[in-house]
């Protein structure tokens, strides 16, 4: 919680617990939303495309934050849950011809059930062992898809679907997809922000802090741990549905364990335990990846005589790994923590501390 400016006080609990306390904060927020939705008008198409994929990742990572950051359940299978959502969504779209506003939630539910299944062991298993159970989900998922009948789940050849349609609008250009994705992302993130402030959110935090103490206080661990996985996987499933409509082709090999690992990286870099952290971490790592893609060929072209091209591209990998390590060594609490410190510094300036 950042500090408030002088003179701002509340007489009701509701006022105290609000996210936006001052008019200035409201104004900033509204301006942000306006900028977000008018971005296609003045940003290059490349940035819109980057934001499309980033939006999909944001939804998945926010879900992961709920499962892992708020409830403390290690989850390295988020990408498999996303894939499950993508396949359920694509299967319903291809076989039953349902519109996107039915298939995407259906994809979310399918992934949620799958995720809850792998979350059931969480009652007994903890820590790194749970991490491996979720990796098991990651390994079993493609095998499962390839064993199901081809008409249903695409088997080895994947599923192809038509673009999303809403009445006369077809979402098949980057800009139209941007609006669709941003809209859905805003809705999901809004739910996430609110979820963590309800009783359920507090239960999650209690489980994270000490699950045995929570059980003693009367919380049904089985229900809430499974619920954490359910909700996290639902978010992943929705992200998967969006992915399906983005590429319009889903294949079993698009959801790898490396994607799961990147998701975990995003919540750590962003900061465990805050939805804003999840968003910031996602954006930071995505931008880093894109920057590296851009830098690699640039370096090769600028220094054609310094070693082979391969060395530069591999060097990019080194830079990526190095940045992550350095970041974690020097700021283990993540970007959200830094952001809070920044806000506090702004408030108390010119004093160094309150």
């Amino acid at each position: 919680m950042a500090l408030l400016p002088c003179g701002v006080h509340f007489r009701t609990y509701r006022g105290d617990r609000a996210y936006f306390h001052t008019k200035a904060q409201w104004a900033c927020f509204v301006a942000f939303i306006i900028v977000l939705f008018t971005l296609p008008l003045w940003a290059g198409i490349r940035y819109i495309a980057m934001l499309n994929v980033t939006a999909i990742y944001v939804i998945a990572v926010v879900g992961l934050q709920i499962t892992s950051g708020y409830t403390g359940q290690t989850n390295l299978g988020q990408s498999a849950f996303m894939g499950m959502g993508a396949f359920v969504c694509a299967s319903m779209a291809a076989n039953l011809n349902l519109p996107f506003w039915l298939t995407i939630p259906a994809g979310g539910l399918g992934a949620a059930v799958f995720g809850a299944l792998f979350g059931i062991p969480a009652l007994r298993i903890k820590g790194f062992y749970l991490a491996l159970t979720t990796i098991a989900a990651q390994i079993i998922f493609p095998l499962l898809i390839m064993s199901l009948p081809e008409k249903l789940a695409g088997g080895a050849i994947g599923l192809q679907i038509d673009p999303a349609r809403l009445g006369p609008i077809t979402f098949d250009t980057d800009v139209s997809l941007y609006y669709l994705f941003m809209g859905i992302t805003v809705i999901m993130v809004y739910f996430a922000f609110n979820l963590v402030r309800t009783r359920v959110g507090r239960v999650f935090v209690a489980i994270r802090d000490n699950d045995i103490a929570a059980e003693i206080m009367g919380i049904n661990l089985f229900y809430y741990k499974t619920l954490a996985f359910f909700i996290g996987a639902f978010y992943a499933g929705v992200a998967g549905g969006l992915w399906a409509y983005h590429l319009r082709y889903v294949g079993a090999d698009q959801f790898t364990i490396y994607m799961s690992i990147w998701f975990v990286g995003m919540i750590i870099v962003g900061g465990l335990g805050s939805v804003l952290g999840a968003i910031m971490g996602t954006i930071f790592l995505r931008m880093l990846q894109e920057a590296i893609l851009y830098l690699g060929p640039l370096m090769v072209n600028l220094f054609p005589n310094m070693g082979e091209a391969q060395m530069w591209y591999a060097g990019m990998n080194i830079v990526l790994g190095g940045v992550i390590i350095v970041f974690l060594v020097y700021e283990p609490h993540g970007l959200a923590h830094r952001w809070n410190i920044l806000k506090t510094n702004y408030r108390v300036w010119p004093f160094p501390y309150l």
């Binding site: 298993i125 364990i257 975990v264 591999a314 990998n317 080194i318 990526l320």
Partner: protein, 313 residues
């Protein structure tokens, strides 16, 4: 002996030998976890990196001719030992560097941060491997001569066979070291609680460094057994992910649980591939280690021989 029985024994023993290799890599995980409570996801890359270092040594034209010059014609197992000793020095240096700069700041951090740092390390090592040695494939030298060992009607890959036997010896030695010697006791104390062991006068940093060096040496040995005569490439690091269920099945703190878990997983995988794969089109042998691990974890959440941590509320 009836054919079906011969087959059964063949698959079982071949699976057990493969399982010993998994156990070797898993032991790398376990030794590090035991000392610092860090699960090192980059263990596969460490194995490959060790393999590359050994390869570089054996390709230097100087090295074999030096050995030949000093000792005349040398039997293959002596050459192997020399190669391993020299590479061990360099692998240890590498291990120390990683430990100092990557793992020491991570002591006491939450699980996630540690996981992420090892993943960053994974990316770093991948990039480093490609940058130093290039992305091309190259053959790993035959430190164990090529061919199969024949015992009656059974065939076993020579490297896995001898590697398995030697690894078994290694496991026995290591578990004795960790359980019976004073030095092993110190490492165990550090594994249990850093703060308490420091107040007892045990250097946590040195213990972790030692554990890291042992782990790197184990990985180098695993690389020799695994890659003998095969293609050496950075893509071989997937062995790390295959060995992870073995480590967790054994329990992350148990040294002599590793070979047992390895044998169980290896035999199970081999038998599943032989008898169940035709019905499931190959899915069972891939999924088997994980399914088994999940089942056993449900019954014993700390792995077969892991420490049962008593949580105080």
């Amino acid at each position: 002996m009836p054919d079906a029985l011969i087959d059964l024994i063949q698959y079982t023993v071949a699976g057990a030998l493969k399982g010993m290799l998994y156990a070797l890599v898993a032991l790398g995980f376990i030794v590090i976890f035991r000392a610092g409570r860090i699960l090192n996801f980059a263990q596969g890359e460490v194995v490959v990196f060790g393999g590359f270092i050994i390869y570089s040594f054996l390709s230097l034209p100087l090295f074999p001719s030096l050995i030949q010059g000093i000792f005349g014609s040398v039997p293959w197992w002596l050459f192997l030992i020399f190669a391993l000793i020299v590479s061990a020095v360099f692998v240890s240096i590498f291990g120390l560097l990683v430990e100092r700069f990557v793992f020491r700041p991570m002591i006491g951090q939450p699980i996630f941060t540690i996981v992420m740092v090892t993943i960053g390390l994974m990316l770093l090592l991948q990039g480093l491997t490609i940058a130093i040695w290039g992305g091309g494939d190259r053959p790993f030298p035959f430190l164990f001569p090529e061919g199969a060992v024949r015992l009656g009607p059974f065939f076993f890959t020579r490297s896995l066979f001898w590697g398995g036997i030697l690894s078994l010896l290694l496991f026995v030695v290591l578990s004795l070291l960790f359980e019976k010697t004073r030095w092993g006791l110190k490492l165990t104390a550090v594994a249990e609680d850093h703060a308490v062991s420091q107040s007892m006068g045990i250097s946590v940093k040195r213990s972790i460094a030692t554990a890291w060096i042992i782990s790197c040496l184990l990985s180098a040995w695993a690389a020799v057994v695994f890659l003998n005569g095969m293609t050496l490439t950075f893509a071989a690091s997937t062995i790390g992910l295959t060995a992870l269920p073995v480590a967790l099945l054994a329990g992350l703190e148990s040294i002599w649980g590793a070979p047992l878990a390895g044998v169980i997983v290896g035999v199970g995988e081999s038998l599943a591939a032989a008898y169940l794969d035709e019905y499931t089109e190959g899915a069972m042998s891939e999924a088997f280690p994980y399914l088994l691990m999940m089942l056993i974890l449900l019954v014993r959440p700390q792995g077969l021989f892991g420490w049962k941590i008593i949580e105080r509320v």
